[in-house]
């Protein structure tokens, strides 16, 4: 199987998923309503959370961006579990197509959804008072990083969706690990104000690096909120790329392996 063939098969599958989204727009609509809720809730309910030197809106938006695309990545696994249940994966697996194409297609088409979410979040964020204070190029890099996080998390979700036995399990198993990952981090609060035990975990949480990187690229940092003195948070952009590469290196082969074993019964 050549690389060109893999790309072409992946595109054929992505195209199919995009057709599906267009016929079933509720999925995209509701997945954009969810981040609106989060932005409004956090900005107005937790406004009193102390973020010295920066407004809470500006502080929390980076966290909400990362959290939203991570939550949304659960859809990848749910979609694959659904395809297994309906026998579509069996059909694909009996075709002479690239083994990874179904996964490449799915993760790519789910990025369309991620893009829609990102656009809505940017607009709503600006409406509630979030502003960037970096160069346009850095802002673009920040948006690109968010999409990249969305894409990479889709592969974790794919491995989960292909490993569980039903759509329902894919739905709950796909989400459950995300809560500690978002809460034990710098997503919603200043990492320095966490209790020492929690803080020690949070500073090594890849999510903290992602959010620190987004804050840095958007210029949503505050001199009064120093980054803990650990390498990933001192070099959050580079650390983020390393984390993302590591996740792909683990979950792409794992997902392909699960795909080869997947079966409708």
């Amino acid at each position: 199987m050549t690389l060109a063939m893999t790309a072409s098969d992946g595109w054929t599958v992505a195209r199919r998923n995009i057709f599906r989204m267009a016929r079933n727009p509720e999925v995209v609509i509701w997945s954009t309503i969810q981040p609106i809720m989060f932005i409004v809730l956090f900005v107005y309910v937790f406004d009193s959370i102390p973020t010295p030197g920066i407004s809470y809106e500006e502080y929390v938006m980076a966290g909400i961006f990362a959290q939203t695309v991570m939550f949304n990545s659960a859809l990848t696994g749910v979609g694959l579990a659904e395809d297994i249940q309906k026998g579509i994966i069996d059909r694909f697996r009996a075709l002479p197509m690239a083994r990874s194409a179904v996964l490449i297609g799915r993760t790519t088409s789910d990025l369309v959804n991620g893009l829609a979410q990102l656009a809505v979040m940017v607009v709503v964020g600006l409406a509630v008072g979030w502003r960037t204070s970096s160069s346009p190029l850095e802002v673009l890099a920040g948006l690109g990083l968010i999409l990249l996080i969305a894409y990479v998390f889709s592969w974790i979700s794919a491995a989960v969706g292909l490993s569980v036995k039903s759509v329902e399990v894919a739905n709950s198993a796909g989400f459950v690990w995300m809560f500690p990952v978002t809460f034990v981090s710098n997503v919603f609060v200043d990492i320095n104000q966490l209790t020492p035990a929690v803080r020690n975990i949070a500073i090594w949480n890849p999510m903290s690096a992602f959010v620190a990187a987004i804050r840095e690229l958007f210029g949503n940092t505050s001199e009064e909120i120093p980054q803990p003195d650990v390498w990933p948070l001192q070099n959050p952009v580079l650390a983020s790329f390393l984390w993302l590469a590591l996740i792909l290196a683990i979950f792409v082969p794992l997902s392909v392996r699960q795909y080869k074993k997947a079966s409708s019964r």
Partner: protein, 320 residues
């Protein structure tokens, strides 16, 4: 004649369940083999191995001379598969479903489009071609799924219970379509729970139970084995059952099966046996509620070959 589909001593176990217990089969080029058996007999498991979807614990399999286990990618190029539960994408239109499969067979964009249109025409689905498949009837979806298996005009075709769950009309339609394919020389392996379906479509029938072949032959050979038609008599009075049995027993090719007021007797030539039975019973003045001839079913085949009824012999294995 060469064998286009070959399976040799396939074994697949799920825990304690032997889904395939040293199953061997071969299908000569251009012929149709029907795998007949109840749910859980191992039909689908065998098909999954032959279509590269499942690796057996041991044994070997080949399609069109290609080793399925050693070279699954090449095997996939020569096979078409249509599964048990119409694997069409319900949010895609009929055309989009087939066009996508063509592209994934690497037919190229324009050839995929042409094949999709031609198949929709051939399967009388053109009118609905641009509607999402979820608005289609079950029979139409099944035809679309079958069409999907034919996109690349594969020389080897696998159909897993192609008509299970369809209404009689759709079933007959689908039989006609499959019959047409076979005339064009496609080698076909199909699984079914219906003796009638196997008889209608297959040159050769293999009866499988608990993962292993228990009989093989033409429909006529199998029916001869199970005694052709059944003479079924329902007595009006339960007290008459013993008399009826003793009166008609010697007309049968095998012992009668009695349950309540129902007597079921395998017979070789149905009409003769029916008339003779009625004459004898009338002479004795025995009144009946019902009497008739019926063709043997999978149940009869099973009862006579295995001594147990064709119920689900093992639970269907879940995903490994």
């Amino acid at each position: 004649m060469t064998d286009t589909i070959v399976a040799h001593e396939l074994v697949k176990t799920y825990g304690d369940v032997r889904a395939l217990d040293s199953l061997s089969l071969s299908v000569p080029e251009g012929t149709v083999l029907g795998l007949l058996g109840p749910n859980g007999a191992g039909k689908t498991t065998a098909l999954r191995v032959l279509t590269t979807l499942l690796r057996p614990d041991s044994g070997s399999a080949a399609v069109a001379g290609i080793d399925v286990l050693a070279d699954p990618d090449r095997a996939r190029e020569v096979i078409g598969v249509s599964g048990q539960n119409a694997a069409v994408d319900e949010y895609l239109t009929g055309f989009e479903n087939l066009d996508m499969i063509g592209r994934l067979y690497h037919l190229g964009r324009s050839k995929s489009r042409d094949r999709a249109h031609a198949l929709l025409e051939q399967f009388q689905l053109s009118e609905a071609a641009d509607r999402p498949a979820k608005t289609w009837s079950g029979g139409m979806r099944r035809r679309l799924d079958l069409a999907g298996a034919l996109v690349a005009e594969p020389p080897v075709l696998f159909l897993d219970e192609p008509t299970t769950g369809l209404d009689p009309r759709s079933r007959t339609d689908l039989w006609e379509v499959i019959g047409g394919l076979v005339q064009r020389g496609t080698t076909l392996l199909l699984t079914t729970q219906y003796l009638e379906e196997a008889e209608r479509l297959a040159d050769d029938i293999m009866v499988i139970d608990r993962g292993t072949a228990i009989a093989q032959g033409t429909a006529d050979e199998l029916k001869a084995k199970v005694g052709g038609e059944r003479l079924e008599i329902i007595a009006r009075d339960e007290d008459d059952v013993a008399t009826i049995v003793s009166t008609v027993s010697n007309l049968g090719s095998d012992k009668p099966d009695v349950g309540g007021r129902r007597i079921c007797l395998p017979v070789v030539t149905g009409p003769t046996a029916l008339m003779e039975a009625l004459r004898r019973l009338d002479d004795k003045g025995i009144e009946l509620n019902d009497v008739g001839l019926r063709r043997p079913t999978l149940d009869d085949v099973f009862l006579s070959l295995t001594g147990h009824a064709a119920e689900e012999s093992e639970p269907t294995p879940t995903r490994p």
